[in-house]
Amino acid sequence: MGMIIQGATGDWEVVIGMEVHAQVMSKAKLFSGSATEYGAEQNSQVSFVDAAMPGMLPVINEMAVEQAVRTGLGLKAQINKYSVFDRKNYFYADLPQGYQISQFLQPIVGEGKLTIDLKDGETKEIGITRLHLEQDAGKSIHDQHPTMTLVDLNRSGVALMEIVSEPDIRSPEEAAAYMKKLRSILRYLGTCDGNMEEGSMRADVNVSVRRLGDPLGTRCEMKNLNSVRFIQQAIIYEANRQVDILEEGGEIDQETRLYDSVKGETRSMRSKEEAHDYRYFPDPDLLPLQFDDAFIEKVKADLPELPDEKKARFVSELGITPYDAGVLVAEKEVADYFEAVAKGRDAKLSANWVIGELFGNLNRTSKSLSESPVSADGLGELIDLIKDGTISNRIAKEVFEEMFESGKAAGVIVDEKGLKQVSDTGAIEAAIDEVMAANMDKVEEYRGGKDKLIGFFMGQVMKATGGKANPGVVNKLLKPKLDG
């Protein structure tokens, strides 16, 4: 559903386009051999190329090319076998070259598409305009010295993919879904780690508003949003700001705005306006980037199964609901874990255990899946014990908690605690007789017509057997006995 802002003069539709910068997973930088690893000591991962020393020349990293092609294929996009690197000129302290090597008119990847997952299992297709390769800039630190800004060039020259969407997004929720899905696909592909806290993925968000059916309005761009929550907040604030201006008869200035997450507002970055005159021209240090179909085919050959395909397979082959399938495929590690549990087992039951008990316990203890004390095989063993009747579903939950606490195997816990389900009719009959003897008044009431009391007896028998009685067997034996 699109976001509609109800103004005093009528309804306004919100239109959003996103430019996402995703850091390419590679050992070395886009045009130099220095390392890309996050968090190293300042300026320790900088070559003379990255520092733009005179006479240094860029040489492209094949991995960056491969990763861009892989991402393009994952976005079902056109791959351009001929693309060109340009210089984007602007002046800033953390850009030693005085220009960023980017791609302007001829990017490596053209039009593609991405399907976002919305509430209640609905989906929507968002067009991808292009993907191009470019260098990241260094990092400016403004708060560690009283009079100076400190510059660290470790990030300078790291390969980025800028992924640009069509203005197909219509609400903050859709923008969030777009970001989440893009992150999921990049992580499946292994082309970006998607770590937003470390800045591996950042979004520039373009927002405009219009009357339904009108042509696109004038947009404002909000730069460098590094969390899904901020993206949503910035869109809501900015769209309402624009509506207020338009309703008072004003006009929107096309400009770059900064989202202040502390104040929850956007404000103009006028100083950036002049820098928008980038004077792009082809980089004379670099020949056009070219490769053949065989290169593309090689990359295509080892593409993993992507979340959309995996979800479709979980639904059609395993009979899982689209909602559950969506939850399971969002992260590749979760999908792999689930598949290991479900292999040769009841897929629906496996899905319930992963989404219900496992996620519940992980959330409660703030653990990630990789830190789970219960392995996929361990959970599988527990499900086998339910399936073959060794333990009831209720006992299984208890066993799972214990597995999660102690890391012990399900079978060991069942043996140690004597939790094995009792299906032996003799033992269950004995328990029923005991319960009835202790509750003769209730038995009379039942026989007098209060049928509902059977639930009470069921509960008492389960209690008397420590929850170990097979509920099916109890059910079968209880009624004839009560009926006398």
Binding site: V59, E62, L150, L153
Partner: protein, 95 residues
Amino acid sequence: MSLDKATVAKVANLARIRVEEEDLEGLASELNSILDWVEQLGEVDTENTPPMTSVADMQLRWRQDEITDGGYQEDIVANAPSPEDGFFGVPKVIE
């Protein structure tokens, strides 16, 4: 094509080159001569000529994804006017 004084001042500012007011007029005229000269190329018919990307017939060289460089912080900041604990120190730039 014709550049006026204001455009020259803007280009100079973008390139961070300081140009005195009295020099703008002369520079505009010089730049216009250069542009006129380059524009003569437009007289050549290039309808069926592919764009030239290099004077030599060669392909872009690719490099393997290996860490072969970096690890010399002191060399990187050696010529910086005010290095600070391995960082470049620059005048405070804040929005």
